[in-house]
């Protein structure tokens, strides 16, 4: 449907202008702020060399909620997600302005250690990417790295608990020391989630975690996300609107690097305020 966007640039850009106008008048989009946020983006802009990927995004993430970031390809969802735990630091030519407040502390500031930050904010990627090590060593990687446990028995406990929470324990308990790459795609992705929660992060970032999986595996991960949301805040980037509608509490819609609309998932999917959002959700665009 790129064709449509090209065909009607005035409509698109005027809608974008309208959306921006809404934002600039109040400083924040309605529904962008929450009480006692875990994580807040304030006026975030991201540039890759000369290209601006994100423009002035401000929004909050609440305690123990699932926030879905949706929007057409190239709208900057993944970039924003990687901005939250400073994964873009290692991307050359990437520059971030504005700030992200995590637990009352700005993370884009001298003296903030991205290593410590990432230990509190896990990330799961689009393609399952287990290390070419054993299943056990994959899960034990984080706790070992940060020295979270003292004894082998403790480590065993952490591995077992993490695998149990992702529902993988019963499937792999007899072959913990087999290579992780021998697992199926869905199992690999759950292993990656187990690997992430083994360091007990406060926030879990998920970048289209189900896009490489079949429907059954997707369903398992979605129910796992609901389960995890009891203890963690989850931000998920997804292409799949049904998925956003099924799992998330709130939804944010992005378009060409701008945050267009944010609100409860019900509101976004039933009564979107912006025409761009409506077009996307109804499948007329994207």
């Amino acid at each position: 449907m790129v064709f449509l966007r090209r065909a009607e640039p005035p409509q698109s850009s005027s809608a974008l202008a309208a959306a921006s106008a809404t934002q600039s008048s109040s400083g924040f989009l309605p529904g962008a702020l929450v009480d006692r946020p875990r994580l807040s983006a304030r006026d975030i802009s991201v540039y890759y060399a000369d290209v601006q990927a994100i423009t002035n995004v401000s929004m909050d993430v609440a305690q123990h909620e699932i926030l879905a970031l949706i929007g057409p390809s190239g709208c900057g969802k993944t970039t924003l997600l990687r901005t939250f735990n400073r994964m873009n630091d290692s991307v050359r030519g990437c520059r971030v302005t504005g700030n992200v407040i995590f637990d009352g502390e700005p993370i884009y500031r001298k003296g903030v250690d991205p290593v410590a930050l990432r230990a509190r904010m896990g990330i799961v990627f689009q393609k399952p990417n287990p290390f070419p090590k054993s299943i056990y060593d994959n899960v034990a990687y984080g706790p070992r790295l940060h020295g979270l446990v003292d004894r082998q028995a403790e480590l065993d406990e952490v591995v077992e608990a993490s695998l149990q929470r992702t529902g993988l324990w019963n499937e792999v308990k007899d072959r913990l020391h087999k290579p992780a790459l021998s697992l199926s795609g869905g199992q690999q992705q759950r292993l990656c989630i187990a690997r992430t929660i083994a360091i007990a992060p406060e926030i879990i970032l998920m970048d289209e975690p189900c896009s490489a999986l079949d429907p059954i595996a997707t369903a398992r991960i979605e129910s796992l996300m609901r389960e995890l949301a009891r203890n963690h805040s989850i931000i998920i980037v997804t292409h799949n609107m049904q998925q956003a509608a099924r799992v998330s509490d709130r939804t944010a819609y992005f378009h060409e690097g701008h945050l267009i609309e944010i609100g409860t998932t019900d509101q976004i999917f039933t009564t979107p305020e912006q025409s761009l959002t409506e077009d996307y959700i109804t499948g007329r665009y994207g």
Partner: protein, 435 residues
């Protein structure tokens, strides 16, 4: 592992542990990180530092060889005596006498014997006089002033390689000689001048007249043979493997074989050259032809591998387009793919030739290590090549050859630098074209 894990309590415990320990361990981990990074930088610096030391050593030793000590002498000839001399040998002796007389005059030491002052001049000085002043000598009352080559011992004193402070027994020149050298210097009759012989001469037993031209020509002739054979054969092989060969075990084996040949020690190729080209086929020893054949075998894998990757970089759409126009497979390759890949192929060829130019060991095996005082003039003439000349000189007992060796290395490195630079420029053009 027991079954009574309470996930929630465990999670809390982990989170607490992390809050406690992370800060403490972070400092240590970052220090480790800095050390690791420092080790990496250190390794690079170590390698490059060695390179710098190597080049500095060679350049500082070699610079002095581009100049050599000359003595300015005024020769007074006597055409009559030259006419009396019958044979060439007698004529030379006559020239030598004139040279001795001129030197004794310059030293203002008429009471000394000619044999005492001769160590100051090169043994080649008399030839220099004969070749340059033949006309003057034949004229009645001929007289000419000429800078003639000093001996290598004088040059070593002048460059400070041999220390004047050494005891007399440790030097080949006596204290009397040193005094003479001083006298010549004061009279501005002794000077270090451009060393023409080094660039125009062939090898010699006398360091002051030994030159690299013979070896340069030898290297050139050898590389001509290598290029003439390795380029067509290498490109043809690569074209076959990349464009025509079916993908099967045999092709796989050929490929593995070629990659292996690229890593076979070069001295093995020397053994092959000795056993096959010289002993079985009866080709001449020390000849650029045989050297070129051996280097062809060494260079082939490099050219094949480079050509294959150049061919692979040519987009398939080009082949499809040409095939779609009704061109045969061979026509597609000859008219479209090869021209497109040519800069890449040439890059690989130049790199292969540079490698061949620096190759020494296999050429020792086929006799290019012989002492050859003539500049070769054909592919079957006995010849040596630049790196082998370096090897021969480095093995010579005369001190003066150290500087010669270093200077020859500088020339060799110069050639290699030019070739590699050409390769880099070509590659840049190739990549630009494919974009």
């Amino acid at each position: 592992m027991n079954n009574t894990i309470d996930p929630e309590r465990l999670r809390q415990r982990l989170a607490d542990a992390r809050a406690e320990r992370l800060q403490a361990s972070l400092q240590r981990r970052h220090r480790k990180e800095a050390v690791f990074r420092g080790l990496g930088l250190g390794a690079v610096c170590l390698a490059l530092g060695f390179l710098a030391v190597l080049l500095f050593t060679i350049f500082s030793q070699g610079m002095s060889a581009f100049r050599s000590s000359h003595v300015q002498l005024t020769l007074e000839f006597d055409a009559q005596r030259l006419g009396d001399a019958g044979s060439e040998r007698e004529r030379l002796e006559q020239y030598q006498t004139w040279l001795d007389e001129a030197l004794l005059r310059a030293l203002d030491a008429p009471e000394s014997r000619a044999s005492a002052v001769r160590p100051l001049l090169s043994a080649a000085a008399v030839y220099q006089v004969r070749d340059r002043l033949e006309d003057v000598a034949a004229r009645p009352g001929g007289r000419a002033t000429l800078w003639v080559l000093a001996s290598d011992e004088v040059d070593l004193i002048q460059t400070g390689v041999v220390d004047r402070a050494w005891p007399e027994a440790a030097r080949s020149l006596s204290d009397q000689h040193l005094a003479w050298i001083d006298r010549l210097s004061e009279a501005e009759l002794l000077e270090r001048r451009y060393n023409r012989a080094f660039f125009t001469g062939a090898d010699s037993r006398e360091p002051e007249v030994a030159g690299i031209w013979g070896a340069v020509v030898g290297s050139f002739l050898t590389l001509v043979v290598t290029l003439a054979l390795a380029f067509p054969v290498g490109v043809a092989t690569a074209v076959y493997l990349e464009e025509f060969a079916p993908r099967n075990r045999l092709t796989d084996l050929i490929e593995l074989n070629i990659n292996n040949l690229a890593a076979v020690p070069s001295i093995i190729f020397g053994l092959l050259g000795l056993a096959i080209f010289i002993n079985t086929l009866g080709m001449p020893r020390s000849a650029p032809l045989v050297g070129g054949l051996v280097l062809t075998l060494i260079t082939l894998p490099t050219i094949i591998i480079a050509t294959r990757s150049a061919l692979r970089a040519v987009p398939n759409s080009l082949r499809d387009a040409a095939t779609g126009m009704g061109a045969s497979r061979l026509q597609v390759t000859l008219h479209h793919v090869l021209p497109m890949a040519m800069p890449g192929i040439l890059t690989g060829t130049i790199i292969g030739l540079a490698q061949a130019l620096g190759e020494t060991a296999p050429l020792l095996m086929i006799g290019m290590v012989a002492f050859i005082a003539n500049v070769p003039s054909g592919f079957a003439d006995p010849a040596t090549v630049l790196p082998v000349q370096i090897f021969i000189w480095s093995d010579s007992p005369e001190r003066a050859f150290i500087a010669k060796t270093s200077a020859a290395i500088m020339v060799l490195l110069g050639f290699l630098a030019v070739m590699n630079l050409a390769a880099v420029l070509l590659r840049r053009r190739f990549e630009h074209r494919l974009k």
